[in-house]
């Protein structure tokens, strides 16, 4: 395989996300199970992302790269439940221990914020601030 493998993967993910998120149960009248998972989890997730962006080390890293932490936090409030879950899921997947703002974590964060500001388009779930 070649590097476009990842591009295909992310296309696939975007497609499945677009198709998957708004899907209601095929059975009229029932609300699909995934909707229950979203509403239950999005609030604590939102708090976690905000707390993460609030951390001194994270703020410092963003500041030295010229990213306004408040703008990023405002954007978190505007994310949908599904988007919040995806971001929080990314936070969960970071290897634990050691240097907290590790390289991976840092790149993730910068890309997330630059996505939001419209410089990049890496994550399928971000929407640019116009």
């Amino acid at each position: 395989m070649n590097p476009s493998f990842m591009r295909v993967t992310s296309r696939f993910l975007i497609a499945s996300m677009l198709l998957g998120l708004p899907l209601q149960s095929a059975h009229a009248g029932l609300v699909a199970t995934e909707r229950a998972a979203m509403s239950a989890q999005s609030q604590p997730d939102r708090e976690r992302i905000r707390a993460f962006l609030d951390r001194e080390d994270v703020r410092h890293e963003m500041l030295t790269r010229g990213v306004d932490g408040e703008a990023a936090k405002a954007r978190v409030d505007a994310l949908t439940d599904g988007e919040v879950q995806k971001v929080a899921g990314r936070l969960d997947q970071m290897p634990a221990g050691g240097d907290v703002v590790g390289v991976l974590l840092f790149i993730f964060l910068v890309l997330l914020v630059t996505d939001i500001l419209g410089f990049t388009k890496v994550f399928p779930f971000t929407r640019t601030i116009k």
């Binding site: 395989m1 009248g29 029932l30 199970t33 995934e34 969960d92 890496v122």
Partner: protein
Amino acid sequence: MAGVLLSAWLGGCATPQTQALLAAHSRPMQQRAELVSVPFYPQEIHQCGPASLAMALNAAGAKATPQELAAQVYLPGREGSLQVEMLAATRRNGLLAYELAPKLDDLLAEVADGAPVVVLQNLALSWYPVWHYAVVVGYDLDRGEIFLRSGREQRQVLPFATFEHTWERAGYWAMLALPPGRVPRSATEAAYVSAAIALEKAGQPKSAEAAYAATLDRWPRNLAARIGMGNTAYIRGDLSRAERAFRQAALDHPDSAIAFNNLAQTLADRQLYAEALTAANRAVALAGPELAAARETLEQIRKKVP
């Protein structure tokens, strides 16, 4: 995304997880484990995905050959298999696909617990990737070695550091294929219930129901699993079982509009209209993101009331 991360990141040679694991004074896990009973399918050219998946699926009790799985996951044009298809094919075979957190100790803990782990590796370099799927079947902490069924090797022995390098370059991707009643040792509540929901969406209500039941055993207050119990019973046409699940959901989560909405629909299907109306009104009163659905349910029930 991983591609961007990898190309931006590679250059360093540290294997932090290996070092942390081997340096730990008190290791909570077994020193050594090997799942000798995991079958071995030597891979055909480029077909490491179907071969690896077949080994994991067989170990979990599903009958599937690499040839059958190749039709489900192998993309001839790309000479490989996408991770999402590996997950999807697992579900299509009635098993729960669980993506592990990118942690070496989690991965080893699952192996010690008896579950072989399918991993994606990049055997070459970030700018010249050679993607490869293999199955981790054992490890030895003292010797610092990990054992894999890989390619045409039935028992490949790799030093932890080498494995971590190749695994890291593939974004630390690892998955389990499990009988749906079994919760992985390292599972988080949100990730496990998502895996169960994916099973339901893959058209496997029976397996999904078992996974929801297992979720509730471990996390009794999980709303999604309770709703899922009801929805899967409903899909299978077992309305009394669905009703029981939604009643319990409404009892445990009196603020859940979804619980009351789905209870109302089920009661209406059982022609218990008076009670259905009460539940539907409650769902509308709770409002929230499902308000439109709740209103629609209420209206439909009103139409049916004789």
